[in-house]
Amino acid sequence: MTVLTLAKALNEGLRAAMDADPKVLIMGEDVGKLGGVFRVTDGLQKDFGEDRVIDTPLAESGIIGTAIGLAIRGYRPVCEIQFDGFVFPAADQIITQLAKMPLRSLGKLKLPVVVRIPCGGGIGAVEHHSESPEAYFTHTAGLRVVACSNPVDAYTMIQDAVRSDDPIVFFEPKRRYWDKADVELGAPGLPLGKAKVVRTGNDVTLLAYGPMVKTCLESAAAAEDDGRSVEVIDLRSLSPLDMGVITESVNRTGRCVVVHEAPVFTGLGGELAARISEACFFRLESPVLRVGGFSTPYPPSRLEDHYLPDLDRVLDAVDRVLAY
């Protein structure tokens, strides 16, 4: 076991993936000498060379578009989008090409492209550096969307993502990059599509992913002091959802709160609430509540503590579902 930060766990995972398969490439802005602005690709260009770790021109559409071409030629590119807010110039290549080309080819083409996106707020950044654009991609059929929340998952999930033959949007919780945990290098993890109960409880189910898992765990711990038994599920896979784990839990607790940083309106929380409301209709003792970002652009950093779900807002929602 080695103690690794989440960023370093991704780095080790990428290294393992590159070692395992010479077709794996890394491409993006500043991923080479700099090792990426978060150092996730630190040292990889030095060890694998400029042909496999490619500093690209400053153009996100170009990054995804050429990655698709490389994938058609048999490569497995892992693309870094420098910050969440900069994925939109690549939206067309992701939505109309990456997601749809495998079907267009009736399965003759596989596009094993991973799009890594550091996401979320809470780091005091300027505009466009704190967003949570996952719903744009979960709404895009043809993509898989996953989010890691801790170093252990980060290490195995990135390897699984690289190994998958489907295009994957891979969200990394940037404010958790420096969180540490014991990671067993070389060991496999829970499969990519699986949700994980990260804390068991009986009264309420909290659903979260990425940066909000930690927040929910802290909320659950605080709720316990008030005698409330809160279960926390780390979704890990946002598309598709692991509905089995989710409904088993909510059918047991009868109450559910979904927590994410993205704006609530048409966010993933709506999908979860709708599905759970249907799947657990006779067991739900309260509506599924959602705690998330407001329906505003991500605010200036001096307001982000108000914008982001935190322990208090999660507990407030727990109170409210319990009050039904």
Binding site: T56, A59, T96, R104, S105, S164, D242
Partner: protein
């Protein structure tokens, strides 16, 4: 913006090896030596490709296809460039490269399947090194550059060609593709068929200078070729591909041609362009000049022309037959091939929908 600044009148910089009258001329940079058999083969390609196109237009008129994008007038650009490719080269088309598809050996029924709506393409790009059609303008240029970067990494001696229109040159993606190709010195040929129109918009809406000059702004060569001259298109593309394979990086080829038909079968060009233009371009027909050349040089006799015509008739007939025989996809095809690996939601939706459908049978 006057016609002459955008080069609507044939400019001197146009590479031409065969005049509209079927006269062979020489160009210092683009030598080509074709045997009679080779010229006849090109003629045959041109005729068959036009026939495929005409048959498809007819099928659309009769309701058998949802849409068709005709290549009428662009046969030489497509056959010339298509025949310049070797087996190891890879081509990335738009939605109009039926002639290139033909040269790559793709059965035209595949193209008809797409426009009939039985699938979105579905042929195997690797089988003939001919990628799927791309409808979102310009996207394929980046795919081509990425593919070319893969060729570099494989250490292979091969090149990529990517097709796009005059309108497409305005898209960000196409310009990003120019940048990547130049920065990475990728083995790619940018083959722009300037057919003068992007649906209803004339070239002046996309550029105020001749398109082939765009390349110079990115640091690689651009050349304008008579797009109705199959010899010139072959020679210029061959050289560009050879340069690419030899590690000399990208070239942009502007094939100066004209869209003789409507944009697609849904379009009505009488709303936006005058008949005169069309008449002028009719005199530059890509097939007639090869025929004239073959006649003039006595390289082919009437029997040859009759044989090609008969072959075209047979091809058209066969295409019609196989089009009508195309089966509609089964409803469960909705859920196939969306993902390469098992996918829970796909399985759920498939099961639910099939059981819903089964309800009607009960």
């Amino acid at each position: 913006m006057t016609a002459s600044t955008t080069g609507l009148t044939a400019p001197p910089e146009l590479v031409q090896l065969l005049t509209p009258e079927g006269e062979r001329i020489e160009h210092p940079d683009y030598k080509i030596d074709l045997t009679a058999e080779e010229v006849k083969a090109l003629y045959r390609d041109l005729v068959l490709v036009r026939r495929i196109d005409l048959e498809a237009v007819a099928l659309q008129r009769q309701g058998e296809l949802g849409l068709w994008a005709s290549l009428l007038g662009q046969e030489a650009a497509q056959v010339g460039s298509g025949r310049a490719l070797t087996d190891v080269d890879m081509a990335f088309p738009t939605y109009r490269e039926h002639g290139v598809a033909w040269c790559r050996g793709v059965d035209p029924i595949n193209l008809l399947g797409l426009f009939r709506g039985v699938n979105h393409g579905g042929w195997d790009p690797a089988e003939h090194n001919f990628h799927l059609y791309s409808i979102v303008i310009g996207t394929q240029t980046l795919h081509a550059v990425g593919y070319a970067m893969g060729i570099q990494r494989d250490g292979a001696e091969a090149a990529t060609i990517v097709y796009f229109g005059d309108g497409a040159t305005s898209q960000g993606d196409v310009n990003e593709a120019f940048i990547w190709a130049s920065v990475f010195n990728a083995p790619v040929v940018f083959f722009c068929q300037n057919n003068q129109w992007a649906i209803s918009e004339p070239l002046e809406k996309q550029s105020r200078i001749p398109l082939y000059k765009r390349a110079s702004g990115f640091g690689f060569p651009g050349v304008r070729v008579d797009g109705n001259d199959v010899f010139a298109c072959l020679a210029v593309t061959r050289k560009a591909l050879a340069d690419a394979r030899a590690g000399q990086g990208p070239t942009m080829v502007e094939a100066f041609t004209y869209r003789m038909g409507a944009h697609t079968t849904s379009d009505d060009p009488t709303r936006y362009r005058v008949a005169d233009e069309l008449e002028a371009w009719k005199l530059k027909d890509p097939i007639e000049r090869v025929k004239a050349y073959l006649f003039r040089g006595e390289l082919a006799d009437q029997e040859f022309f009759d044989k090609v015509e008969a072959e075209a008739d047979a091809l058209g007939k066969e295409l019609r037959r196989s089009c009508l025989a195309l089966p509609d996809p089964a409803p469960e095809a909705l859920f196939d091939h969306v993902y390469a690996e098992p996918h829970a939601l796909m399985a759920d939706e498939r099961e639910q929908y099939l059981s819903y459908l089964a309800g009607f049978e009960r």
